[in-house]
Symmetry: C2
Subunit: 201 residues, 2 copies
Amino acid sequence: MYRGGMPRTKGDHEARRRDVSEAVWQVMAARGFAGLTLRAVAAELDATTGLLTHYFPTKQALVRYALDLLDQRTASRPRRHTGAGLAALRDALLDILPLTPEATDSNRIWVSSWDTALSDPDLSTDYGRKYANGRARLTERVAAAQELGELPPGDPARIAAGAQSFVLGLVVQALFDPAAFPPQRQVEMLDDYLATLSAAR
Amino acid sequence: MYRGGMPRTKGDHEARRRDVSEAVWQVMAARGFAGLTLRAVAAELDATTGLLTHYFPTKQALVRYALDLLDQRTASRPRRHTGAGLAALRDALLDILPLTPEATDSNRIWVSSWDTALSDPDLSTDYGRKYANGRARLTERVAAAQELGELPPGDPARIAAGAQSFVLGLVVQALFDPAAFPPQRQVEMLDDYLATLSAAR
């Protein structure tokens, strides 16, 4: 299918672009950034490496594309909306955890991207900003839960940073030991955490 | 110094081995596993790539060596011993956090190794076992704090898994945003976490 060279029409081009994106995603989910090569993406697509170089002239172009794809898919993933206050905070934290195969793939790709991100100062700053934005969104939900009297007073930004730490570390543990951290246990652990936050006075 | 070829005596050999280890460590701390190449280690040592191939015939041998080095240095790092019960749990969690430049380097290398570890099933299992062992050690300390009445009752393994999640996620956030998570703030956040655990009834 891909051996025929470049696409002829705009529709072909977009369809192929989607297939390329899906192949990059599958390679990252299976092998991480360490295994993200033109050769691996070509094999996943059943295409030639030569075709791929039209899309990605360099390894760095492929990595940049993969990072953008990770951002896009994260931004467009479905979100829980079950309530306000503490329920909304819980929703946002559940949205991060690897509770489904899709969420496991994207978390696995996020964790694997940290190596690349930490070794590039610009990218590292960019990741720092992403996590700061995530904390800012959690801070709003903590403050709303405090207003409803569901969480005790205290600096909401500090509580949000703690909650983000808790779920990020739980992601890492669940990825390395899925048998010890099935979805139900992750949810129980998060609920324990929220219960201790609520109870603390 | 390194251009002269292989070492002549056992003492030379061991001294060189230490220098090679240090160079591998420095490359990983600066560039992660993504940047760990024979060329980078050779440059760090001011040696030829040819010399390095005596130690590491393949990239995989270099990666395995780096992973072993990370294990050794983690096992031999200094540990806090300030007390029993909750103080001992706090010590173990503080020992994990990037509170010094040395602890920052080793955490940065650990986080960067996750990409490699997740893409290799055996290594992934091995990492899962390492974290399970870490949780088992924390579980003993949680149980001891419970016996002293410093922590409320509840499954100590589940509390330990929560505490490990909290510090691992805090490590990741502190690596990406050291300005937002200076050592003092990390310690305050950990103390907040332990205080909410202690207060929960």
